[in-house]
């Protein structure tokens, strides 16, 4: 039984299925546990903005690797070698814009969603244009991930997508619906570990089969060892196009516009910790992930070359025959683990982990937009927290259903998985990423310009699908079939057109709008920080953390305020009214039990005491038997 380049006995199918089903069930139960940490929709979607940097950062490992990643990048790694890492290793160029610009803006302005930013920065029309484009982007990813895993399961086990996709969607929809963002983060953390273990297991088996690291490198063609492909030779995968399409448009979309990633950053306790998470993501997570998803392709290439040089299969292994390069990951793994169904089942479970960890984030993100940008402002502006929490759960269910239905549309598309992916994304993102960029970094950019540039930029980009000749001047140096030329350069074209329209309209309509955008642009961050403190002066002095604080109940302390001794305040470098983050002393909880509060001095307290009301204490999920740690935020 089986195709996808491998043959499975019914016993093997049974073993693989047991591992995969047990894995999915465990994750669903684990995620469901976190339902208890959701008292309101801020908890449900943003986990109360309480986490330490490492928890969301580590959970981003799994979020960034989709079910398509292993299949797509292994294929790319087999075809072009280590240049498959290019899309993962070119994100640093954005660092100044994100670390000093976009992250502080959304954090201090307490932005809940990108469309909300558009409303506050521009107007309602801009909000709903942005919302339409962002939902198209995210639903595209949800449908695409479900479709990819459906294709893989259908290929390996002949399980119809009609069954596999809805069943998988039901499992992951269940824990997102009940557990919210906290469940997403903790399951993604678990699944990230799972992905890395399975990935390194597959890599180790492959290197071992080859006879060691030296043999792998020595039998890898020189063109496959290089970190970059030819500048312009292959229209569908070239360094120039990847820079504009991936390093700029794609990375801006992922870090500035992807509501899922944005929400992950908004769960973090401070901008400083958010910067640490961004740093970790680009410096550690992305490079390691690039190896995990692409290495099987590099190993596959070396295996095939070594087989050709030595005249047959490697000793102790079946002959590796990769007829369809899309099957590279499955064929190489199956062969190098000696066709052990239990080990292979673990690797298939990793594929599912990649799917679940990406889609759960997107479902939660789409539901957040549904609540914050549609339901709350348009349908039910005034309702209780319980009502919105219930609505958020319904929004998660509806999102899951829409994503599942989209798989039908993906099945009607022609071309490889990679070309479907890039064609779709490179059409959707250029106009909105340019508009976000201009909005955040150019104060004069106004509402009319934002709306016109988003609409006209998107429309012109879509039109180039049928009339691509205007893109030719940008991609003049590429060769190959015409339709392939424009996968990435369409994104560059869309961004340039949108920027030109935005600039011209701003100049023509300048002075016709007098909207206060203070705190929403890069040059007004000081005011944003002050607003974040309810008008207080931002305190940027860097103090120390205060450990070992014992809770003292003080009924007359205002909610969301704490009182500390003079000694503790001095150590924190804090003044009365500063925002302080108080957390459970067990660091490994990552801030699951924590809270942001305003601090004031109480000379009557000792340096080991912190006073607050019982209500504040419970809001933070603190437990009396554990001491607390205080840290000044601003």
């Amino acid at each position: 039984m089986g195709s996808f380049g491998i043959t499975l006995t019914s016993g093997a199918v049974m073993a693989i299925s047991i591992v995969a089903v047990v894995y999915v069930a465990v994750i669903t139960l684990f995620g469901g546990y976190f339902a208890r940490f959701n008292k309101n929709i801020n908890d449900f979607f943003y986990s109360g903005n309480r986490f330490s940097w490492w928890l969301p950062a580590a959970s981003m490992v799994a979020t960034g690797i989709g079910s398509y990643s292993y299949l797509k990048y292994s294929e790319q790694g087999y075809n072009t070698g280590m240049s498959s890492t290019m899309t993962y290793l070119n994100d640093w160029f954005l660092a100044p814009f994100f670390i000093f610009g976009w992250l502080p803006i959304i954090y201090f302005a307490r932005i809940k969603s990108v469309p909300e930013y558009f409303e506050r920065r521009f107007n309602s029309a801009a909000r709903y244009i942005a919302l339409t484009i962002i939902l198209a982007y995210m639903f595209f990813y949800i449908g695409y991930n479900l479709y990819t895993i459906g294709v893989a399961l259908e290929g390996m086990f002949q399980v119809s997508q009609l069954w596999s996709v809805p069943i998988l969607a039901a499992f992951l929809g269940a824990y997102v619906t009940f557990g919210g963002q906290t469940a997403v983060i903790f399951t993604d953390l678990f699944q990230g570990v799972m992905l890395y273990i399975a990935g390194f297991l597959a890599i180790f088996a492959g290197i071992y089969a080859l006879g060691g690291f030296d043999d792998w490198w020595s039998y890898l063609p020189i063109s496959h060892r290089l970190p970059f492909v030819h500048l312009s030779e292959n229209p569908k995968f070239n360094s120039a196009g990847l820079f504009w399409g991936e390093a700029l448009a794609g990375s801006i979309a992922f870090t500035f516009m992807n509501q899922g990633f944005l929400m992950r950053y908004l769960t973090i306790k401070s901008v400083h910790d958010g910067r640490k998470a961004a740093f970790f993501n680009v410096m550690v997570t992305l490079p390691v992930s690039a190896i995990i998803v692409g290495a099987i392709g590099w190993i596959g290439k070396s295996l095939v070359v070594k087989q050709a040089v030595t005249g047959g299969a490697l000793a102790g292994y079946d002959f590796v025959d990769i007829e369809n390069t899309f099957h590279t990951f499955i064929v190489v793994c199956w062969t190098t683990v000696h066709q052990n169904p239990w080990v292979f089942g673990f690797i298939v479970a990793a594929l599912m982990a990649a799917l679940m960890s990406t889609i759960d984030t997107l479902i939660n993100a789409c539901a957040a937009i549904g609540i914050y940008d549609l339901y709350k402002p348009l349908i039910m502006p005034e309702a209780s927290d319980e009502h919105y929490l219930k609505a958020a759960r319904w929004a998660s269910i509806i999102t899951t259903v829409i994503g599942t239905v989209l798989v039908i549309w993906f099945n009607t598309q022609k071309g490889s998985l990679m070309s479907i992916h890039y064609k779709g994304i490179m059409i959707i993102i250029p106009a909105i990423v340019t508009t976000i960029f201009m909005g955040a970094f150019w104060k004069r950019f106004n509402s009319i310009a934002a709306c016109v540039s988003m609409l006209a930029g998107s429309l012109i980009t879509v039109i180039t699908v049928w009339f691509p000749s205007p893109i030719r001047p940008l991609s003049w140096f590429l060769s190959g079939p015409l339709d392939g030329d424009f996968i990435y350069f369409r994104a560059l074209f869309g961004m340039i057109i949108t920027a030109i329209i935005g600039f011209v309209v701003t100049m023509l309509t300048s002075g016709k709008e007098d909207k206060d955008v203070t705190g929403l642009t890069i040059d007004t961050l000081d005011k944003a920080m002050s607003d974040y403190k309810d008008g207080g002066i931002p305190n940027h002095e860097v103090g120390e953390k205060v450990h070992g604080l014992n809770f003292q109940e003080k009924a007359d302390t205002e909610k969301d305020w704490i009182e500390l001794s003079q000694g503790s305040m001095d150590l924190l470098e804090a003044k009365d009214g500063d925002i302080v983050y108080l957390s459970d002393s067990r660091w490994w909880l990552g801030g699951l039990r924590s809270y942001h509060m305003k601090a004031k001095t109480n000379p009557a307290l000792s340096d080991e005491e912190v006073a607050m009301s019982k209500e504040t204490f419970e809001e933070a999920y603190f437990l009396e038997k554990y001491t607390l740690v205080a840290e000044k935020i601003i």
Partner: protein, 107 residues
């Protein structure tokens, strides 16, 4: 022209500067090293990348988003600059090793 307008126009001068760079830089690379040279892709990426990261750093410092009087901003500024050179060095070493270690596949 008020101060805000003057400042905006000054920023938009970056655009023609970039267009000139974008026009000549790939041609310079193609004519000097040739499109087949592995270092051409490297220089293309880090040439445009330097322009992009550099303009970002300039923007955040000029607008006050990165303020060296804030202790942590100076730290993160150094990290951003260091990160750029870290990736550039990593890729350079990678290309060097790829080219210098013999291939046993027989081409």
């Amino acid at each position: 022209m008020d101060q805000q307008s003057a400042s905006a126009y000054k920023w938009w001068l970056m655009v023609p500067l970039f267009l000139v760079f974008a026009f000549f830089f790939p041609r310079l690379l193609a004519n000097s090293l040739g499109p087949d040279n592995p270092w051409t892709s490297y220089l293309y990426l880090y040439g445009f990348g330097f322009f992009y990261t550099g303009s970002g750093l300039l923007l955040v410092t000029k607008t006050g988003a990165c303020n060296f009087n804030r202790q942590r901003d100076l730290f993160w500024f150094k990290i951003v600059v260091g990160g750029f050179f870290y990736f550039a060095a990593l890729h350079a070493v990678w290309i060097y090793l790829g080219l210098s270690i013999p291939y046993l596949g027989g081409q």
